[in-house]
Symmetry: none
DNA sequence: TGCGGACCTTAAGCGATTCTTAACGCGGTC
DNA sequence: GACCGCGTTAAGAATCGCTTAAGGTCCGCA
């Protein structure tokens, strides 16, 4: 299911509000009201999990640990109390972001989208998009078949698209970020780099989509 | 200057830590320790401003207002105290994100990069009109039956109508926004685009109504 | 200093997609 | 019923992107 989001929240008023916000934003929210029910859920059947830390039954923190053991689904912590030690603990346990009450609906949506775009705000060194993995520190990219050697420009392009996973990135933006601006002559240069990048990506090239008239997009599902 | 970041922070220990974090991440931090100095600064000479809310002299909130009056530079609020009313006020005044102490250096960098990528985290990039969902970032539209591939012009038209959901939009306005104005010739071009858009929308085409003699309207309910 | 290789850029042909125009027919409005 | 606006289709034109091939530059190395 493309837009299924699990909400674990015992506060009825807050839960209703969040469900409504999510629906309006085009997501498909599933609301569970207590920790014990949430224990039984398979985290991988959701694109993202919103987790309240103050829950009856199993505490939210335990749920987070449990989910992290078996899945890499993005988890966004939602806390009614503004407790910074909770924040640290949550993020250390692998939560991807943290929103405290009160918040604007827009803020929640924005953070969700940020999480979906780049799982784990805390791990900036590695990017994973579908079967493509990028190590920004080692400047290395790999696919299922192994490491692939990319030139500087190719790596910049791939990293940029991966950072904005799912978004259409304009040709201009890519040229700005990855190519020497000294040569602003031919507009065909980018094509060539993309072409070679695709051939090096092999099967994973299907993830690098052309957005006609705009630019390119790197998706996690081919 | 490409990576100049202004840090307004009176706490010396925290300031040093942030400056170090920013430098290591490849930014060029400028640190100002009191609000009065910060008043004199031209916000537009920085790519992003990190603002502490608890400052001697002019309070941080006043600074934020002041910056917002003359510039759209991204502002990230950094608050030592975990005060949610501050958060609300800050975001309403146009701050782009909010980080509370304590935080991981990686978290700060991640949020900065998020702000630079998309100023104003609070502006959602999705539109939903009835059963039509439009993702402006992905540049993709979906209906109940799944994603539909739209050309550039078709997408522009749909997005424009969706932004003005419910109201009639004149043919001229649509042509202005979505089509090349170079071709001033035939007024029938728009019809063709609308026609193809409808056929691609499938069932959802019922939401795209003709307003006779005026233009078109995209409604919530078919 | 000269050579070779890796890399970036440019050019050009080709194929694919998209935009526009034209033409015809329908339907609403007076 | 006449007129004007709109829907639809088909076809040509324009645009855009992919690929291959060919310089050109920079760097390391002998």
């Amino acid at each position: 299911m493309p837009n299924r989001i699990l909400l674990v929240e015992d506060d009825v008023a807050l839960g209703q509000q969040v469900v409504q916000t999510l629906s309006q934003a085009g997501f498909d929210p599933h609301w569970v009201q207590d920790g014990d029910s949430a224990r039984e859920i398979d985290p991988d059947s959701y694109r993202l999990i919103i987790l309240d830390l103050m829950l009856p039954g199993t505490y939210g923190m335990d749920l987070l640990k449990r989910y992290r053991l078996r899945s890499e689904v993005p988890v966004l912590i939602l806390s009614a109390r503004d407790d910074t030690s909770d924040k640290i603990r949550g993020l250390k346990l692998g939560a991807d972001d943290y929103v405290t009450k009160p918040f604007f609906p827009e803020e929640l949506i924005a953070r969700i989208q940020a999480c979906l775009r780049r799982p784990n705000l805390l791990e900036t060194q590695r990017l994973a998009v579908g079967s493509i993995q990028i190590d920004l520190e080692r400047r290395e990219a790999r696919t299922k078949t192994g490491a692939i050697s990319l030139t500087r420009v190719e790596f910049e392009i791939l990293a940029l698209l991966a950072r904005r996973k799912g978004s259409a990135v304009s040709r201009d933006a890519i040229v700005d970020a990855a190519l020497d601006r000294a040569h602003h002559g031919s507009r065909r240069t980018l094509d060539v780099h993309i072409s070679r990048l695709r051939s090096k990506l092999g099967d994973a090239a299907a993830q690098l989509e052309t957005v006609w008239g705009i630019g390119y997009r790197l998706t996690d599902t081919p």
